[in-house]
Subunit: 255 residues, 2 copies
């Protein structure tokens, strides 16, 4: 158990991309004025609802999922502290995913129009928010693409590494051992496999000295081999922004 339930705000997240001016930080802070505790299992929005509220996740984990007519559930996003939730579906007349808290936590809801407001006031923030949204999409695409081409062991390896690097980004205290509030059935819904096969594969991976998952946490035993097996490339998740864009920003934004 390496991670303490500390609070991570969106500013911490976005500052990975760009240095933000004090003005920008104050503007951003207005999005997190109304922290609100949420219970484990609480639903933040339903698939049929119109996206008019965005959320920042300050504490806890959440996930979004599709529910098909046949009742199958496919998890799409895993949200970690600091993440902006709901921006992908913003332009559509309906979310088309349910979002549920995986743990208890704290979220800050704010009206979607506020984002347009920010777009008009700060090009730097606009860019940073775009980068965060693009990053979320890349994470999903990479996960799905890699899942498509690999066997169960590589799927699990890939996802565990995704979590590892995403958590390390916002929480320095994360080491080879970190808390993960996901059941084996959650892995299944994420990776498109049955929980039975998840169980089998996890046992196999532990026997091979790759990783160990308990109910509460995950221990990475052989990082190098996991990277090799899954073809995971941490560099693809870089926080570095496109220099062509940052150069085109109006002012270099002094801190």
């Amino acid at each position: 158990m390496a991670t303490a339930p500390q609070e991570v705000c969106v500013t911490d997240n976005l500052m990975h991309f760009l240095e933000l001016s004090e003005t920008d930080k104050r503007l951003l802070a207005t999005l997190e004025q109304t922290p609100q505790p949420v219970a484990k299992g609480q639903q933040l929005w339903k698939a049929s609802e119109r996206p008019d509220t965005l959320y920042t996740l300050r504490r806890g984990w959440a996930y979004s999922m599709h529910r098909s007519e046949s009742g199958e559930e496919q998890v799409l996003d895993i949200f970690l502290p600091g993440d902006l939730m709901g921006i992908r579906e913003l332009t559509f007349p309906a979310h088309s995913t349910d979002v549920v808290m995986l743990t208890s936590g704290v979220v800050c809801p704010f009206p979607a129009e506020r984002l347009l407001d920010i777009y008009q006031r700060s090009p730097s923030l606009t860019l940073a928010i775009h980068a965060a949204a693009a990053r979320q999409q890349v994470i999903i695409s990479k996960r799905l693409v890699n899942i498509l081409r690999h066997d169960a062991r590589a799927k699990i390896a890939h996802f565990v590494l995704e979590l590892y690097y995403r958590l390390k980004r916002v929480d320095e205290s994360v080491h080879r051992n970190f808390a993960v509030p996901l059941l084996q059935s959650d892995f299944g819904k994420l990776l498109g496999m049955t929980k039975v096969h998840v169980s089998r594969t996890l046992s196999e991976m532990e026997n091979q000295g790759l990783l160990r998952k308990t109910r509460k946490d995950i221990q990475i035993l052989d990082l190098d081999r996991l990277l090799e097996i899954s073809a995971f490339d941490p560099m693809k998740l870089t926080d570095q922004l496109n220099p062509t864009l940052t150069a085109a920003l109006p002012s270099p934004g002094p801190s």
Copy 2:
């Protein structure tokens, strides 16, 4: 062969989302000032390059793909006439996909900074471009998620329907029979299966009276059953924008 090689510009694409003012249209037209013919097989960018140029696709088809170390190719995007190419990777220091023309065609390159320019000048255009980018992402996510959970027949059904509805959106002349410049191996790279199994499954689907694919085109034989098999929901690709956002736009943009 139902589709003629007509020209579709980005304005045609974006106008599906929002009525654009004359000012907006003129601004948008500046992006398409330099049409440039491209040959089949021509590479528009490489995975390692920095995204400093965006493209609009006026004629022809293109696709983007990941190339893994082992040489496997995974196709991510299929670009059709009217599509904006390159916006997803814009904020990253490198594309991480190669983009190649599937047919000969016409593209209009323009510098990435121009987009920031547009963002500052027109909230309506900004919203429309975001919607187009979000739509592309939804297409990819839906494809991958559905692929994950279904067998080969449903995978193919889903992708064929994706093409069908995307093409119909920009080309009224598309009917149950439409030109598709994709090989069976391309289907394989898109759907994460071998070309051998694509062949087997296509034969099976033709025998079942579902669809018929030749080298040049695809004929949809039983739309209803394809929809049922693949759990494809055309409504998820709606062009309707989130009313909450359009209501928040500064001016209703008279045509």
